[in-house]
Every structure is written in C-alpha cells, then in structure tokens.
Amino acid sequence: MGKTILNFKGMSCPMPIIKLSIATRKGAPGDVFEAVCDDPAFEPDITAWCNETGNTLNGITKSGKDITATITRK
C-alpha cells in the first residue's frame, strides 16, 4: 500500500479527474493518492468524483492556489 503523489498543476477540466481515474485504476484497494492541482474547479470536482466512484476523500488542504486532496482507493 504505497502513497502516490500526482501533480495536476496547470491542467484544466476534465484532465485532473481523468488522470486521477487512470492512476487509481492501476492501483490496489487501500492505496493512498495525493493529488495537487491549481484549478479552482478541482475541489468540487474531486468531491463529486469521490462521491460517485466510492473512493474515500480523506481531506483537502489549500495553500495559495494549490489544492491538495488525499484519497484512499476503494
């Protein structure tokens, strides 16, 4: 169970959730992913994505423009 860091900075909708979905599909249940993105839509999108896909959103932290989300794979 590793922790994967994903850098989505500079990407815009819908790329962050596409890249995230590809990354999580490669992983195993229980794997932790940390995704950072500077697109303001990332926060509502990642929340909706986790809700819909059943993955767990552990938390969101913000510093400046950067939004960091931690997810545990279903």
Binding site: G10, M11, S12, C13, P14, M15, I17, I18, L20, S21, I22, A48, W49, E52, T53
Partner: protein, 179 residues
C-alpha cells in the same frame, strides 16, 4: 405462507434495485452538432463520465459526423452530389467551425490558440482519450447514407447503427443528453 410471500417480494425488490443501479452507471448522448464548441462540450462530458467509472454511449448523427471523420479520405466512387457535400464539410475534429464567432474559420483558430494558452486539452486528444477509456461511438447509418459517408471515412473503432441502437442504450441509462 406469509413469510414465503415476503421473501418473494424482497427478491423482486432486490432485482428491481439491481436494475436501477445498473442504469445509473451509463450515460447516453446524441451528438447532432458538428460545431467545434458543442462537440468539445460533448467530449468533455463524455470523458468526465468515463473517469467517474460510467459507461458512455455516443450516437453521432448528421453534422456530428464531421467530428468523427478521418482528416483525409478519398471520395472516389461516389455520386456527384455526395462528393459535393463531402467536399464542403469539414473533415475531422481539427477542421470544425464554431457555432458563434466563426468568422469564416478564423474564430476556431483563435479559440484553439486561447485554449492552448490556458492548457486546455485539444479536441482530437480528448476524442482519443475517450476511445482509450472505452467510449462506445455509434455513427448513424441513415445520415451516413444521405451524405455519402462510408465507415472507412470515420475514425477507427466506430460502430454503425440506427435509432433503435441509440434508444436501447438510452433506455438502460439514467442520463441522456442531446448536443
């Protein structure tokens, strides 16, 4: 006796629930427009749904066919009018005009430039990604016939079907969009 009936009802409800849950995992879309901006919106929604683990079925008809054509193909062996229509319509996602501010083809170039500056994915790349993630694209046989479009003129991996194919997918989806 009463318990038996109860068990039967529970089983029935479970089956109905399973069917509903299956339906909520598919999105069906009609792509009627061949305008760059509308096609773009359609593929953003499609790739988004695929990323959310949904199945996506895209039924492409009329002007939408322009968006899934190969960038180049030969029109030999077709009727004169078919050749004319094919010659006048854009070939592929990179040649589409916009629904507003097209300005004879300058508009799309401007938008592509502005989208590139903002790091927005290009339309051909979005279509490629949707295909990689397993989108089902069905081209409308009837509009292909009318405009003289052949299956070989379309991007690889595209199926051909009719209205019943679309409706059947739509009936087993809980979301259907027309673009």
């Amino acid at each position: 006796m009463e318990q038996n009936e109860l068990a039967k009802t529970v089983r029935e409800l479970e089956n109905r629930l399973a069917k509903l849950e299956k339906n909520s995992s598919q999105l069906t879309m009609v792509l009627f427009s061949g305008d760059f901006d509308k096609v773009f919106a359609a593929f953003i929604i499609a790739t988004g749904a695929l990323a959310m683990g949904k199945k996506v079925s895209l039924f492409v008809t009329f002007w939408g066919l322009d968006a899934i054509k190969k960038p180049a193909f030969k029109t030999s062996g077709r009727q004169f009018l078919e050749k004319m229509v094919l010659w006048m319509r854009p070939k592929g996602p990179d040649k589409l005009g916009t629904s507003k501010m097209n300005f004879g083809g300058i508009g799309p170039r401007l938008f592509r430039f502005m989208m590139g500056q903002k790091n927005v994915e290009s339309l051909p790349s979005l279509i490629g990604m949707a295909q990689e993630m397993g989108i089902k694209i069905i081209a409308c046989q009837m509009s292909m016939d009318v405009m003289g479009v052949k299956k070989e003129d379309l991007l690889d991996g595209i199926e051909v079907g009719g209205v019943a194919t679309f409706l059947s997918d739509s009936f087993s989806s809980n979301t259907t969009l027309f673009v």
